[in-house]
């Protein structure tokens, strides 16, 4: 499409509402044409960031510039050339689908006089422009497969249909930036999965820079080129989905992604390796002995065997099963390691088939040293180099199929 996609340079962005600071010095570069997901827990400031970008709120501090250095701050929303899809769609309930989609063009292409109700039709040029607008609406509607709905009002549409109208309204004027605030959250699971694919495909085709807010990790993981993981008004980590999942830079990031969450058990550096719940993992680090660490291990990396079956070397800890959660093809095993520590394992496929629950519920657990992620007491990731630990990086995924 015609317009060039926008890149953004966001520097030190802050926003307070009275006492409460919602954004606290957020820095972010948005690459033109990318699909960027803002992921984070409720209340972390995702919507606030979008609203500042759209111009609904003024930042308390910091700057927002386009990649060529023009400032956006102080520009009225209508002059930013940004389109937004709202969580609840924010369709104009009293207008037909056609008029909803046409609205941005009517406001832009027709003069003030031309767009007045009765008079407007009489003015020269108005009719021709209206014709062009209708043609554009038709085109967008066809693209979104909603041509048959153009005469209806939003009240007569299903959730998925409303969603498409909202996207249509955003699309029609070929904005330089798309903002989407949890556009799928009010849809049911099946529709959500379907729309996920459609939005991504559309974005790839149009190449318009998109900021997509969600707190659903599946959405972020499957849709994004890059994910911004936000917490407490800051960008905690920015990276591709795989980087965020496999190479979290903070314990909060690791904990936020994956369900059930990554297991975190306390440990400490010793000369022999890392001491963890009475057992020493034979891992050499360059960290000083005695330093406390947090050991993260994802449920799917936890090995389990009946207490009398497994090898004590490979599965050094004894645990008691507290609860089994069979969820179809996989089963979650909730276990207690000692009074303070619990651990969850996820078994599926052959691992599940090979595991029989002992009558007394007593099992042995363990994990590969390569599977663990190490964090310091403050939660910062201890990187392989720094920790002297060569954690396995995940196999690279091909992006070819996209």
């Amino acid at each position: 499409m015609g317009t060039s996609s926008l890149g953004l340079k966001i520097r030190g962005l802050g926003k307070h509402f009275g006492e409460t600071a919602v954004l606290r010095g957020l820095d972010l570069d948005v690459v033109p044409g990318e699909f960027l997901c803002l992921l984070g827990p409720s209340g972390c400031g995702k919507s606030t960031l979008l609203r500042i970008l759209a111009g609904f709120e003024a930042p308390s501090e910091g700057t927002v510039e386009t990649e060529d250095g023009a400032s956006l701050t102080g520009l009225a929303p209508s002059r930013r050339d940004i389109a937004m899809v709202f969580q609840n769609f924010a369709l104009y309930p009293h207008m037909t689908v056609h008029d909803n989609i046409a609205a941005p063009l009517v406001m832009r292409r027709l003069s003030w006089a031309q767009r007045q109700p009765a008079l407007g039709a009489l003015l020269p040029g108005g009719r021709a422009i209206r014709g062009e607008i209708s043609a554009a609406v038709e085109r967008v509607a066809t693209q979104l497969r909603i041509s048959h709905l153009l005469g209806r009002k939003p009240g007569q549409l299903s959730g998925g249909q409303k969603q498409r109208v909202a996207i249509g309204r955003a699309l029609i004027r070929e904005p330089r930036l798309f903002l989407m605030d949890e556009p799928l959250s009010s849809l049911d699971a099946a529709l959500r999965a379907e729309m996920r694919g459609e939005i991504v495909e559309l974005q790839r085709r149009l190449g318009i820079t998109t900021l997509y807010v969600t707190h659903d990790q599946t959405e972020a993981m499957t849709m994004a080129d890059r994910i911004v993981l936000m917490m407490d008004g800051r960008a905690l980590q920015i990276g591709t989905p795989a980087e965020i999942f496999h190479d979290p830079r903070h314990v909060s990031v690791a904990t936020f992604l994956g369900s059930p969450s990554i297991n975190i058990v306390p440990g400490a550096i010793s000369d022999a390796g890392i001491v963890c719940l009475g057992h020493t993992l034979p891992i050499a680090t360059i960290l000083p002995a005695g330093r406390a660490v947090q050991i993260g291990i994802r449920p799917e990396d936890v090995d389990v065997a009946a207490a009398d079956g497994g090898s004590a070397a490979r599965l050094p800890w004894l645990a008691r099963i507290e609860r089994l959660e069979p969820i179809g093809h996989e089963t979650l095993i909730h276990m207690r390691l000692d009074a303070a520590a619990r651990i969850v394992a996820r078994l599926s496929g052959p691992r599940l088939a090979g595991f029989a629950v002992p009558a007394d519920g007593r099992v042995r657990v363990g994990f590969e040293a390569t599977a663990i992620k190490l964090f310091d007491e403050q939660g910062a990731r201890l990187h392989p180099a720094a920790a002297g630990l060569d954690a396995a990086l995940p196999p690279r995924r091909a992006e070819a199929a996209r």
């Binding site: 929303p77 937004m84 309930p93 609205a103 406001m107 007045q116 009002k153």
Partner: protein, 305 residues
């Protein structure tokens, strides 16, 4: 309410039957008073309108449609209908449009909003007879301050309440003065139910503020509120009585004699109850027709979310 019957009834096979009985029981006082104070009297009025009943008369006779025929030839009655419509035609648009304007202007105020709501509603709470004294003074054709001001800014004097040409419009403006507070608050309530997201979306689409936003978003979204406000102010305006009774008693030259005031005169001053009853039926028919008409017209155009 005693619990015994409820327990006894709980042995009946149908749980739904029990709650239905409860519902009827709860509604029964209202049904009783509705019948006694609304339905029965209206039927009696209807019946009376076919008689020559005069309060205290020993004899009453059935005179068929004579009262209704009399209305047709009663110039004062016809004039009263005209005055009533005239009053409504000024008061309603004024109260509605001014209320809408005030609501739109107040809406954006954060800190002062509450103060304005209260200030503009004060006239609605005031006792009209008391305020009539003030109005009478303020609007005095010769010594009233408003006329002094009119002269001061170079306009002529207006005999607001004593000139037949201006008396009815003056009453109507005073009526609107009392109603504006209510329409303002109702519109504000309507405005607050418009989701803010819609305005955000509109500002991105180019409707940042002003006329476009009002015409394309606000006003259509206020449809149901506007309908409600117009219907209720119309009904209220039709029933204007206090202003007439307190300020002009139908004068000057009968120019402010409204239908309701005329009914009052016929019934309680001239004690011609039969004729008053027929005028009442006419009055009722008017209001019913007008309300239905407004609702009917508007239902087609009004958007309900």
């Amino acid at each position: 309410m005693s619990r015994a019957p409820a327990l006894a009834r709980s042995e009946t096979p149908r749980a739904a039957g029990r709650t239905a009985a409860h519902g009827l029981l709860l509604a029964s006082p209202a049904i009783f008073f509705l019948s006694l104070l609304m339905i029965a009297p209206i039927l009696v009025v209807f019946g009376l309108s076919f008689t020559d009943y005069s309060l205290g008369a020993v004899q009453v006779s059935f005179i068929g449609l004579r009262n209704y025929l009399q209305i047709a030839s009663d110039d004062r009655a016809l004039a009263a209908v005209g005055h009533t419509l005239g009053y409504v035609a000024i008061t309603v648009p004024l109260a509605v449009l001014l209320g809408l304007f005030l609501a739109l202007t107040i809406q954006g105020r954060r800190r002062l909003r509450h103060g304005y709501e209260v200030l503009f509603f004060l006239p609605a709470t005031s006792t009209f007879v008391a305020m009539a004294l003030v109005w009478q003074f303020l609007l005095h054709g010769r010594i009233g301050p408003i006329n002094d001001w009119l002269v001061w800014i170079g306009l002529g004097r207006i005999d607001f309440l004593t000139d037949p040409a201006t008396a009815l419009p003056t009453l109507a403006v005073i009526g609107a003065w009392q109603m504006v507070g209510q329409t303002t608050i109702l519109f504000l309530a309507g405005l607050s139910s418009v989701p803010p997201d819609i305005y955000d979306a509109a500002s991105l689409d180019g409707m940042d503020a002003g006329w476009d936003r009002f015409l394309r978003i606000t006003f259509p979204m206020l449809g149901p509120t506007t309908l409600f406000v117009v219907v209720t102010t119309t009904i209220t305006a039709f029933q204007a009585f206090d202003a007439v009774a307190a300020l002009t008693q139908g004068g000057p030259a009968g120019s402010t004699e409204t239908l309701l005031y005329k009914i009052y005169l016929e019934a309680y001053q001239y004690t011609d109850m039969g004729y008053a009853a027929s005028l009442s039926i006419l009055f009722l028919a008017f209001i019913a027709a007008l309300s239905l008409f407004q609702i009917f017209i508007a239902e087609k155009k009004v958007h309900y979310s």
